[in-house]
């Protein structure tokens, strides 16, 4: 397949997003733009204690407030969900501990933000006033905040009945003896400990829910700012014991998710249960500060990584031990997040022996779950930081240590030591391109000059070469990991009588531009204008089957389903054309929107004529069903493996500790590109989100388990003003896994940027003796690291 910038071929062109006019003019409808007749509002009383017995809930003052109609404790609400608890769909081991997780706590609050009571009111204002007026009597219990402290002897327990704070231990150690032998014989051993701080996802739109009952027939429509209407429908049915065919889930315009809307939340189940019970629409809108604790957080790991290398720095073995913070409960895929990185701690390097073990731990904090990259940024951070340490130990440049270890371009498909099959790549070519673009020779000359001058503005260079596993996921592989669902995606391509086309996708966009990209795929195959292709999604009544959007899966799985459904439409159209031309179908070719007999352009049937013929059904081949429509469910045979090298150049003010990213080069291989503009946008946003973990963002808890970063003044999401000037390029090796040769780009920037930036900061500080900087590398943190390295006060 060719992809070009020729406007006659849409795939490969920088086509503007059709989604944007409605988003930019405010016409797009988000949850909070909707209102339903008779709706009531929910205000949620959240625990102010990290761990406490709930002695009582006093709603008298709240009930005095005009508009407040009811105050309900967890115990009052318990009959609404009976045995049903919030679901965890990924029991990664058979003996994983998964404590019952009720939407509203009944007896013990387990984290600041845990729902402990509910106010019903006739407006959002009254609900907020009412929630603020409810008095909860707590008897505080010792809180477990730090994950290393949580596994120490005698630690307080988050869940007393479990007898431990460990949820599970999951090993991936194909050959332990070989790993030990490699370390015993190594010329260089790098052994590092890194901390992945917790992050607050902070999408532009916080969450929101409206549950609307159809009382006469026992129906329920759930509107939610979710990434996963299809999964949510199944889970709501199971949790509340509502027949699944009575439930419709709609995700209207959704203002970003980054993984945090890939969940089944207490508020969704609560609003549905109340709506079914009361027979009126019930709604809740999350506040920004509420989102800091009521929505899942990302990362939260302590990583121990060791590399064993020979004298030349060739890595023989990688050994990883991970402590992962689950928070107080397991949300939808909480325990699986470390597993999504478990296979990738050897990075893009040809390593023979591998050992990975993760222990997951409960703490009295908001649950963690998937956040952009989910496991893969953590893995890449560890191996890319450690590779820089190895480069120092061996005495070579960061690019040289990577080149000595890369999986060779001719080794694909490559069987990894963690038992994955990498699809395609040319990691050395990608790195060479990035090094050339960054002009590292000049940058290093400037760095040497400033070091010689003792300048208070030191330059640092940081590389990060990454590979990720995307295209989630082959269903049988998910089965082997104990995941509770498959990884396929569904698509329907429906040709209307006038040759306009509807595409129905099970992949649910929340900012990615599916409508634009899917229309380009279909238009190119059918030889029509993308504007003649409509893309429908995000409503289970319109798109009944799907597995939604996460893990950079949409194009490589959902887009492939669309591609294949379009092929099926063309196959049927070809039969109709052959019938009309009285020709053998094998003698036809499809060119410029028409079937013609090969070599005889005068004998042609345009697509529009076929579409109308399929509709009238006056003259179809014998036995053929009317209409032109095809449905495909595509289960990918393998993951895809996007990769790249990013280079950050930073300037550190050694007097203040301030870090500026002065250059940023990203070279990515996401396979073939349907819309390079969308690819670039994903890289830009991803890089800034990754740099944010490196320099800005941190969900800060104090020793009592109180979170102190609950607004965007304290939780430092960077803005456009902090963004570096990105210099982006690509190197394409098409994926052999799917017919379009695509891999995925949604998380690449986030995965690559964090270690690139921190490696650059450490490189800048090398003359001061600093060898590590904790994240986020705030000015104060950097300043103290310098002081400490120089033996001064920290």
């Amino acid at each position: 397949m060719t992809m070009t910038d020729d406007p006659a071929t849409h795939m490969g062109s920088h086509r503007l997003r059709r989604e944007d006019p409605a988003l930019l003019t405010g016409e797009a409808q988000f949850i909070d733009d909707m209102s339903l007749h008779g709706e009531i509002w929910v205000g949620i009383v959240r625990s102010t204690e990290a761990h406490a017995t709930i002695l009582g809930v006093d709603g008298r003052a709240a009930l005095e407030i005009d508009g407040v109609t009811e105050v309900l404790s967890g115990a009052d609400l318990a009959p609404l969900w009976g045995e049903g608890a919030l679901p965890c769909a990924w029991p990664v081991t058979d003996d994983m501990r998964d404590p019952a997780h009720l939407p509203v706590a009944t007896s013990v609050a387990k984290y600041v933000g845990d729902a402990v009571a509910v106010v019903l009111a006739d407006s959002r204002y009254a609900a907020a006033d009412g929630a603020a007026a409810v008095s909860v009597d707590y008897d505080p219990l010792p809180a477990v905040v730090d994950i290393e402290a949580a596994v120490a002897e005698g630690a307080p327990l988050v869940h007393e009945d479990l007898g431990t704070n460990e949820s599970y231990t999951w090993p991936l150690i194909p050959d332990p003896k070989a790993v030990d032998a490699a370390f015993a014989g190594a010329a260089h051993v790098v052994s590092e400990r890194y901390v992945q701080q917790r992050l607050i996802p902070a999408p532009m739109e916080p969450r929101g829910v409206i549950a609307a009952p159809g009382v006469a027939n026992g129906e329920l429509t759930l509107y939610s700012a979710t990434q996963i209407p299809h999964i949510l429908k199944v889970m709501t049915a199971v949790t509340l014991d509502i027949p699944e065919h009575k439930i419709r889930v709609v995700a209207p315009s959704v203002g970003g998710g980054f993984g945090c809307k890939l969940n089944v939340y207490a508020e969704e189940i609560l609003c549905c249960a109340l709506a079914m019970d009361r027979g009126v629409p019930v709604r809740w809108t999350e506040g920004r500060s509420e989102a800091a604790t009521a929505t899942i957080q990302g990362r939260g790991q302590v990583q121990h990584i060791e590399l064993a290398a020979d004298a030349d720095g060739k890595v023989q073995a990688v050994r990883v031990k991970l402590l992962a913070d689950m928070g107080a409960y397991l949300q939808l895929v909480t325990p699986g997040v470390p597993l999504l990185g478990a296979f990738l701690y050897h990075g893009c390097y040809d390593v023979a022996h591998y050992s990975f073990e993760c222990t997951s731990v409960f703490t009295n904090k908001t649950p963690t779950d998937a956040y952009r990259g989910a496991g893969r940024p953590e893995a890449t951070y560890a191996v890319e930081r450690a590779m820089d340490s190895l480069a120092v130990a061996v005495g070579v440049t960061p690019e040289e240590i990577r080149s000595r270890n890369f999986i060779a371009a001719d080794a694909f498909p490559y069987e990894s030591c963690a038992e994955l099959t990498f699809d395609s790549g040319d990691y050395q070519a990608v790195l060479d391109k990035a090094v050339a673009m960054a002009d590292l020779e000049s940058v290093r000359a400037e760095q040497a000059q400033r070091r010689a001058d003792g300048s208070n503005r030191q330059i640092g260079v940081g590389l990060s070469s990454y590979v990720e596993m995307c295209g989630l996921a082959p269903s049988r592989v998910l089965a082997s990991l104990n995941y509770g669902a498959g990884g396929w995606e569904a698509a329907t391509v429906r040709v209307l009588p006038t040759a306009k086309v509807q595409v129905i996708t099970g992949s649910t966009p929340h900012g990615q531009g599916h409508e634009t990209s899917w229309s380009m795929i279909v238009a190119d195959k059918l030889g029509i204008d993308p504007d003649d292709v409509d893309v429908l999604h995000s409503d289970t009544a319109i798109s009944p089957t799907g597995l939604d959007t996460y893990g950079s899966r949409s194009l490589s799985v959902g887009g492939t389903a669309v591609f294949m459904a379009t092929d099926k439409v063309l196959d049927k159209a070809r039969l109709i054309a052959a019938h009309q031309l009285e020709a053998n179908e094998d003698d036809l070719e499809y060119f410029d929107g028409a079937f013609q007999v090969k070599g005889t352009p005068t004998a042609a049937v345009p697509f529009a004529a076929i579409a109308f013929a399929a509709f009238t059904a006056h003259d179809l081949p014998d036995g053929m069903e009317p209409n032109l429509e095809a449905h495909v469910t595509y289960d990918p045979p393998n993951f895809t493996f996007p990769n790249g090298t990013h280079i950050a150049v930073v300037e550190v003010d050694t007097e203040t500790g301030n870090v500026d990213i002065v250059d940023y080069v990203a070279v990515d291989d996401c396979g073939n590109q349907v819309n390079p503009m969308i690819v670039e946008g994903q890289v830009h946003g991803g890089v800034l989100q990754g740099a944010a973990q490196a320099l800005y963002e941190d969900a800060v808890y104090n020793e009592d388990g109180q979170i102190v970063t609950v607004n965007l003044g304290d939780y430092l999401v960077p803005s456009a003003a902090e963004a570096p000037v990105y210099r982006v390029a690509s190197h394409v090796t098409p994926s052999p896994t799917n017919p379009m040769g695509v891999k995925g780009i949604g998380e690449a920037g986030t995965i690559a940027a964090t270690p690139a930036v921190i490696n650059a900061v450490v490189d800048a500080l090398r003359p001061t003796g600093v060898t590590d900087v904790t994240m986020p590398a705030s000015p104060q943190t950097v300043w103290r690291a310098i002081n400490e390295a120089q033996g001064g006060a920290s």
Binding site: Y125, A128, S289, T656, Y696, G713, L716, P718, P779, Q780
Partner: protein
């Protein structure tokens, strides 16, 4: 993030605003640009029962100059300071500092009178006004009175304004000497972690976010006056101060930053 219930009154004039303040006592707050007050109300850190909106008093939006004194109406927006040709010519530091407040949306709503009355020790313009030795004109039931900037900031978010007074004008002398403003923050729209304003070649030096109020750095000014180098003068910038500790900076780091940025500001203002 939902404010408590409040009543709302639109002031027709400064006098009307003052009379509404007199009627409601300390239950009322003036609303100008609202970009400090409204967020505090949404966090429920402030819960006035009456808001008196003075944001439409366009007769208090002006920048005039006469006899070497620049008079600025209290409702003048930060963006108007930022783009004023008069200030660029006669008091460039004020325009330059205004350009660093918040983000464009904040600068198009925020007012000079509002930011002074709010008296946030982390805000930029109060420190600038302090270094410039400005005079603040307050209107009350008994008429106008002048308050020297050095007497204006009395405590943490507290000023010399009475409950029934509003700022109507700020007066600064046309400045001549070297000046500079150093603002250290992590994101462009954030408050300063530490800021340093130097006016009149080091005769006026003030500090942002180094205590309960914007502070005049008298020891630095004295050192400069005595002929000290920028480095020597900056060395005393944090002496005796009790700066706050927050997520961005502990007190010791803030003291260090105050010395670093005072030195940089003095040098940029022409002190050797």
């Amino acid at each position: 993030m939902i404010p408590a219930s409040f009543d709302y009154e639109v002031a027709e004039s400064a006098e009307h605003a003052v009379s509404l303040l007199a009627d409601h006592g300390d239950e009322a707050k003036l609303l100008a640009g609202g970009h400090s007050l409204i967020p505090m109300m949404r966090f429920r850190l402030a819960a006035p029962t009456v808001l008196v909106d003075v944001g439409r008093l366009d007769d208090l939006r002006y920048i005039n100059s006469a006899n070497g004194t620049i008079s600025i109406g209290a409702l003048t927006r930060h963006s108007e300071l930022e783009h004023s040709a008069l200030l660029a010519e006669s008091c460039p530091m004020l325009a330059s500092v205004a350009a660093l407040v918040g983000d464009p949306a904040v600068r198009h709503r925020g007012t000079l009178g509002g930011t002074l009355a709010h008296s946030d020790p982390a805000s930029d313009l109060p420190a600038a006004v302090l270094a410039l030795g400005a005079t603040i004109v307050a209107r009350g039931p008994g008429g106008d009175r002048e308050i020297a900037a050095t007497d204006f900031f009395t405590g943490y978010f507290e000023s010399a304004l009475a409950d029934d007074e509003m700022i109507v004008e700020v007066r600064v002398a046309a400045s001549a000497g070297g000046w500079n403003y150093q603002k250290f923050n992590r994101r462009a729209q954030d408050w300063a972690i530490v800021g340093v304003a130097v006016a009149e070649g080091g005769a006026g030096v003030s500090l942002v976010n180094m205590g309960a109020t914007p502070l005049r750095a008298s020891a630095v000014e004295a050192a400069v006056a005595a002929g000290a180098s920028a480095g020597d003068a900056a060395a005393v910038a944090a002496d005796g101060l009790q700066p706050p500790t927050d997520l961005n900076a502990d007190a010791d780091y803030r003291r260090h930053l105050a010395r670093v940025f005072t030195q940089r500001a003095l040098k940029a203002a022409g002190v050797a």
